[in-house]
Amino acid sequence: MAGFLQQVVEGLGAGAVYASLALALVLIYQFTGIVNFAQGELAMFSAYVAWQAMAAGLPFWAALALTLAVSFAGGMLIERIVIRLVEGAPELTLVIVTVGLFIFVNAAAGWIWTFLIKDFPNPFPRGALEVGGVSVGFSTLGVLGVVALVMGLLYLLFQHTKIGLGMRAVAANPDSARLVGIRVGRTLALGWGLAATVGAVSGVLVAPLLFLEPNMMGGVLIYAFAAATLGGFDSPAGAVAGGVIVGVAETLAGAYVPAVGSDLKIGVPLAIILGVLLVRPRGLFGRAVVERA
């Protein structure tokens, strides 16, 4: 039993990381209807920015603050310069553009920092909390705490500020949002900035668990897609729940299904994506799109 709980705890930690990237995916999808394939690469780039800041001598938390600011500005800039050009274009165009962005950011990171792996410090203390035979790493607790904090802040922003209300209005009905005087273009840029910031958090959380290198987010992105699909692409809370479920499912499958093991674990999110799309395409928490004929 303790062994099983141990696996669940490991899964929760992994799931929290997937959840944070899924949250970023969902934010952008809600605002623009774009599935941003480059979200993971932007997060990776943010992790490099943090690494660079620390290499320059900044302490971790100062480097994090700087990274979040840079990511926010970067996200807004990408929306203004790249995404603005294809606003309202067919979905295939948007997919191609974000895939292009994926390749560009990946190559840019390789060009700037090389493809050699770098060590990334873990901001949380070593060691673990022993609870009834289950050991919960401080690192796992830290990751869960950070993701909960991000969730909480987003909730406050969306539910209790005027900017948040404006953002939800734009997501719900952009034309109508324009008519009440909201500057929709700016709001969309803000949404991209916000998503890039949330993504940066996941990048910084992932980097110490894996190693920092330009391809580190590839796998995480697939888990995040599974999380967003499972939770419902239009539901931030669903994305987090989906992330946690995917993390736990992946860990348990790796531990208890011999055929899966650690090599085939990446198949788990793909199976989840396929299963959800077949059985409940809108996800657990998503709204079904109903349109009158």
């Binding site: 009905n173 034309d175 324009r178 008519l179």
Partner: protein
């Protein structure tokens, strides 16, 4: 004297021209009805006024040129547009929808008072402030759309087919409220309507739009008395 002035307004979607040089002038504090058949360009005219479609020509509001301004800028100048289809923010609550109407205003006492005022005009909304707007009936959604527009404290209210899809009783009540608001607040109203009876009942001036041109203008009484209008839009001969 004229508050809202439109001169030589031309609008086209791609190759197809919808408005061919519309002239219009609306006095401050009056209700002006735009009548006309389907496809005449009524909705496009309103969309041009609020900046939702690109237009050539002159649109002036109390001396300020509106042509070429984006909708959010036009809203800031005090033009509230209740669009075709009502423009409800479906997943948001009724209260959030109303507060969004006052988005460009500084919050505070006045906005709270206006929220209360809108609720007293539309009592069903007060009971549903916390409810998701998508769950409202058609009539309630039209009230919400009107309430949202009023939260701007608009100088000009643009209404696109407020009667569409509503029961006659509900529609009459809505028009009664529009008239009351116009009288109490001196809000200028431009209403596009297929139900000519209703529109002429509240309007002072009326214009008939056909295939992108104004073919007839005058006081509501005059338009009502016009034989052509009577046949086309009122369903009887004078």
């Amino acid at each position: 004297m004229s508050f809202l002035v439109v001169e030589g307004l031309v609008v086209g979607y791609g190759e197809a021209r919808v408005l061919h040089g519309v002239d219009l002038s609306v006095a401050e504090g009056e209700i002006c009805a735009i009548l006309g058949p389907n496809g005449a360009g009524k909705t496009t005219l309103l969309r041009a006024l609020s900046g939702m479609v690109r237009a050539r020509g002159v649109i002036r509001l109390g001396g300020t040129a509106l042509t070429g301004r984006p909708p959010d800028a036009v809203a800031r100048l005090g033009v509230a547009h209740v669009p075709e289809g009502r423009g409800t923010f479906m997943p948001l609550t009724v209260e959030e929808n109303l507060r969004l109407g006052a988005f460009v205003r500084r919050g505070g006492r006045e906005v709270e008072d206006d929220l209360d005022r809108v609720c007293s005009w539309f009592p069903p909304l007060r009971d549903r402030l916390g409810q998701v707007a998508g769950s409202l009936s058609g009539g309630e959604q039209q009230m919400l759309a009107l309430g949202r527009a009023l939260m701007l404290r608009p100088k000009v209210l643009l209404l696109d087919e407020p009667s569409l899809g509503l029961a006659p009783l509900v529609t009459r009540e809505l028009f009664r409220i529009v008239q009351a608001i116009n009288q109490e607040e001196r809000t200028t109203v431009v209403v596009v309507e297929q139900n000519a009876h209703l529109a002429l009942g509240v309007a002072r001036q009326a214009h008939v739009l056909e295939t992108g041109r104004i073919v007839l203008s005058g006081t509501a009484e005059r338009i009502r008395a016009d034989e052509q209008v009577a046949q086309s839009y009122l369903g009887y001969r004078v």
